[in-house]
């Protein structure tokens, strides 16, 4: 199936107009030594019917969360995507447009992004949000760049249990500027240890925490902010936006830069992407912000208009001195996040938080009661928590999958050497019912017994 509209007659006519004899002449600028004359080593083209059949067959080899009841989180969550979101995002005018370089014909995307920025500002408690980054991991990396630029320092303290996948991304991108990563071990209750931070914060550009942490526990942002600021460092908080209806905005508690993974609001699991990296900062830091930023202005008639602004930060103007290299971002996913937030409204977001909180607690209690699990950490948590099982979590998950449950994440692989070989990380979203939770507990109980 090809999408070029050219008929043979079109090609002929156009070549004639160009005075060329053949299509090959179009490639005259390529030295003959570099012309590739064989067919590419890949299958020939297929029709729509065939491609959908092939990809359908591949998809059928996956066991998706349509099939398995999902208690797996760890950075990607099975929240409800409101029915209105994707039909609207898929409208060609949004989906098939480029970055809004011509604001006169891009007010739709620009205004929607301005609204997104406003919502992120509200949720994070910081005035300025950009128009999206790649994902939660790269957002953490960009935040560290901002802090380094603001402080002229190069070290960052990773405190509490930050998602090891985010930390891994940070570790990779830190190689470029040679950032020094200092890991402040978390306390036995699964939250950051203030003393450990204090010990490492000296001379650091930033302290970075995640709340709720990778382990699901809530960090004491205000206290950590004090310690951080005392050392002249910036506080970076990786936040869960789905908790923002019930948890205080990190910016209000003293965070200087808030980052997040926007997937849980309005974006499907998609095997890991496209998701959306969220970043917000104080007004003072606006010129250090990476990526696109939409601002309000007026047109020649004084009508409200939206444009990409503060572009002097960006690669296409500042080039080697830009705050970041990001160009293409995750706009459509950001709009998904803002549509989901608009759908929820303040009350819905609060309900979402309360529901996740209550269900996660119920689930934890059931696992303790029915499956003999032990909470791994005793700090307050939000929608995710770790329990210790009487059997190998990997094997338990396999058995639970046979019962139709995606039971969670065995922690040992992601946090090796932390004495978590028996620990399973479980996420409970608003989509889970009591019946499903009870079913999971029974399945895990059975599995533990059988594996014992």
């Amino acid at each position: 199936m090809e999408f070029a509209p050219h008929t043979d007659a079109d090609v002929r006519m156009m070549l004639d107009a160009l005075g060329l004899a053949s299509v090959d002449d179009l490639f005259a600028p390529i030295p003959s030594s570099l012309r590739y004359e064989r067919p590419l080593d890949m299958p020939e083209g297929h029709t729509e019917i065939e491609v959908l059949r092939e990809l359908g067959a591949l998809a059928a080899r996956n066991r998706s969360t349509d099939e398995l009841v999902c208690f797996l989180g760890a950075g990607a969550y099975d929240h409800h995507v409101p029915s209105m979101v994707w039909p609207l995002l898929s409208r060609g005018e949004f989906a098939t447009s480029y970055t809004p370089y011509q604001p006169e014909v891009s007010q739709g995307v620009l205004q929607a992004l301005f609204e997104y920025q406003t919502m992120i500002s509200e949720l994070t408690g910081l005035e300025i949000s950009n128009a999206s980054l790649y994902d939660g991991g790269s957002a953490l990396g960009e935040a560290v760049h901002m802090a380094a630029s603001a402080t002229g320092r190069k070290a960052v303290v990773l405190a509490g249990c930050i998602n090891p996948l985010y930390a891994a991304v940070l570790r990779t991108v830190a190689r470029g500027p040679d950032f020094e990563l200092r890991e402040a071990r978390w306390g036995s209750n699964g939250t950051a240890d203030l003393d450990a931070i204090r010990a490492l914060a000296d001379g650091a550009a930033a302290v970075a925490i995640q709340t709720p942490s990778f382990l699901g526990t809530l960090e004491d942002v205000a206290a950590i902010a004090d310690v951080t600021h005392a050392a002249g460092a910036k506080l970076i908080v990786h936040f869960d936006l789905t908790s923002a209806g019930i948890l205080e905005a990190p910016g209000v508690l003293g965070a200087d830069i808030v980052v997040a993974e926007g997937q849980p609001l309005g974006n499907h699991l998609n095997f890991g992407g496209p998701y959306v990296g969220v970043i917000a900062c104080r007004r003072e830091e606006a010129r250090r912000l990476p990526g696109r930023l939409v601002g309000e202005t007026t047109d020649r008639e004084g009508r409200r208009a939206f444009v990409l602004t503060l572009q002097a930060r960006e690669q296409h103007i500042r080039r080697a001195k830009a705050t970041s290299n990001i160009c293409t971002n995750q706009t459509l996913n950001a709009l998904g996040t803002s549509m989901a937030l608009a759908w929820l409204g303040p009350e819905g977001l609060r309900e979402l938080g309360e529901t996740c909180l209550a269900k996660a607690r119920y689930c934890r209690d059931r696992l303790v009661e029915v499956a003999g699990a032990k909470p791994a950490f005793d700090a307050p948590a939000f929608k995710e928590f770790a329990v210790r099982l009487a059997a190998d979590p990997v094997r338990v998950c396999e058995r639970a999958a046979a019962d139709g449950y995606l039971a969670g994440l065995p922690l040992a692989e992601h946090l090796p050497g932390r004495g978590l070989d028996d620990a399973l990380l479980i996420a409970v979203t608003e989509r889970r019912t009591r019946e499903e939770i009870d079913g999971l507990a029974e399945s895990i109980a059975r599995a533990c017994k059988e594996e014992a």
Binding site: L26, M42, D66, L68, A95, T96, T172, T309, L310
Partner: protein, 513 residues
């Protein structure tokens, strides 16, 4: 005579969603709790949110209208011709949307065990093979979410490679016509950028390059065809120069569309290649993203790729994740990259196939040459050489008569087309960079050419209208200086005091890319 078109977009203004808000209105709700509510102390004192966020309180009906109307104020490929140079705004097949929406892909969690994701892994492995075939490289990482992300990944690989060889190199060379992400990525990778001048033909000045190389050069980044749409015919000599000092050659894939099945970066000597699947493989650009910028490398660089990578295990016949060893630069994406975009790209690769991809390049180059041919009598071609899939005009003649490239671009909007890229590449005066892509019909090219010619003819009699264009778009030219000077980055219930910050006003003639 070609005339401006009546408006295609909705002219009616649309309130901000917040301005539609009424206290107590709702759209979404949560199911009633079927478990005990959490006690108040579940959230410690001081952790609980005090003031509810100012999210809109709007009914679902009004939300759907709001976003529908906003979309109607936006131009997409589905609206019409979108000849944005360097962006390959080709038709985005709807087939790809169907493929990406299959629940077995869309509802798959990234951390499910391999046994539950065999189909997804197989899709990636097969797509990797196709991308290797197209580029002539040995292996791919799918983690980069966009081109620039691929650049940084590639540069970090470059660095890891040199460090592995015990070398701490300093400079990365780029042509002066390079896209802004190239130097920005170089900085992020901890290198210094050095620009190589272009020669009078618009190609890399090879002699200058040869003079600049040295053993502190980590590598050279370039697009080919370059950002002027011209094929770097000396690319082999360039490669030799770079390789002679142990440097690596980086291919910025933004222009890969021009050579699909006709020439391969691997054969030109490139060591690292990123692809912009949201350009070459026709995935929708989403108003700014998501894209996907997979990075392909030659054999010797395979160990440095970020892990994990999808792999096929011959012995077991199973697909799995391969973490690599400690030469890997590590993870660049939280999970595996923009998988949903990769599904779309896979559907495109499967639909087009080896034959179809070759036709893509042929038609893309044919369209660009035809359109350039139609326009070169009226506008100056920045460089006279035969272009590939895009070409750069200079509106210097028009500027002398009173209409700048920006004026012309804005006026194009009135004629019912999207504007070309303007003021890029930086080395061309009053640049207008036109990339028609292969999916446009010759009638569309003709109509666009006639519009540009009509606009040129307006310069005398109708200059004022031209310089104040657009007139049929939802807004007229916005005050960009004011937006930067008095930053209003969000909505407030009451307009805040203006904060003036004269530093941030960018140049008036910004590259639109």
């Amino acid at each position: 005579m070609t005339q401006p078109s009546p408006p295609r977009l909705a002219l009616a203004e649309e309130q901000l969603v917040f301005e539609r808000s009424r206290p107590g209105r709702r759209a979404g709700r949560m199911p009633p709790l079927d478990v005990p509510a959490a006690p108040a102390e579940a959230i410690p004192e001081g952790f609980r949110r005090r003031r509810a966020p100012l999210l809109p309180e709007v009914s679902e009906n009004e939300l759907v209208r709001h976003y529908t109307r906003l979309s109607q104020r936006n131009w997409g490929i589905d609206t019409g011709f979108y000849p944005l140079g360097s962006c390959s705004m080709k038709y985005n097949p709807k087939l790809a949307e169907d493929a990406a929406a299959i629940p077995g892909f869309r509802r798959l969690h990234p951390l499910q065990p391999e046994s539950q994701t065999q189909g997804a892994l197989q899709m990636l492995v097969e797509l990797e093979r196709s991308l290797c075939a197209v580029t002539g490289m040995a292996g791919v990482t799918f983690q980069p979410a966009a081109g620039a992300h691929g650049e940084l990944t590639g540069l970090l690989i470059m660095r890891a490679f040199h460090e592995h060889n015990g070398q701490r190199r300093k400079r990365v060379l780029i042509p002066d016509s390079a896209h802004g992400t190239n130097p920005a990525s170089v900085t992020l990778a901890g290198y210094q950028t050095q620009e190589v001048p272009s020669d009078s033909r618009g190609l890399v000045d090879v002699e200058a390059l040869e003079a600049m190389v040295g053993d502190d050069v980590a590598g050279f980044m370039i697009t080919n065809p370059n950002t002027l749409g011209l094929f770097e015919e000396n690319i082999e000599r360039v490669a030799a120069a770079i390789h002679s000092v142990g440097g690596l050659l980086y291919y910025d894939g933004a222009n890969l569309n021009a050579i699909l099945g006709r020439s391969r970066p691997g054969d030109m000597g490139f060591d690292i290649v990123h692809m912009n699947l949201h350009k070459t493989f026709a995935t929708p650009h989403g108003g700014g993203g998501p894209g996907a910028g997979p990075l392909a490398v030659s054999e010797r660089l395979l160990p440095f790729l970020p892990g994990p990578r999808p792999a096929f295990d011959e012995a077991s016949g199973r697909y799995r994740w391969d973490e690599g060893d400690d030469r890997s630069i590590g993870r660049m994406h939280t999970f595996w990259g923009n998988f949903g975009i990769l599904v779309r790209a896979s559907s495109y690769a499967r639909a087009l196939g080896s034959d179809g991809l070759r036709h893509v390049a042929e038609r893309a180059v044919l369209n660009a040459n035809y359109l350039a041919h139609r326009l070169r009598g009226t506008y100056d071609l920045a460089f006279p050489a035969q272009p590939m899939h895009e070409f750069v005009l200079s509106a210097r003649k028009q500027k002398a008569r009173g209409a700048k490239a920006m004026d012309i671009a804005k006026r194009v909007l009135d004629y019912g087309f999207h504007a070309p890229t303007v003021y890029f590449p930086l080395i061309v005066d009053e640049a207008m960079m036109v990339e028609p892509t292969e999916t446009e019909a010759v009638e569309t090219l003709d109509a666009f050419a006639e519009a540009l010619i009509a606009i040129d003819a307006e310069i005398g009699p109708n200059l004022e209208e031209l310089k104040t264009a657009p007139h049929t778009a939802p807004i007229s030219r916005p005050d960009e200086a004011r937006a930067a000077r008095n930053l209003v980055p969000r909505w407030y219930p009451q307009a805040p005091e203006p904060v003036h910050d004269p530093e941030d006003a960018g140049p008036a003639e910004k590259p639109s890319i």
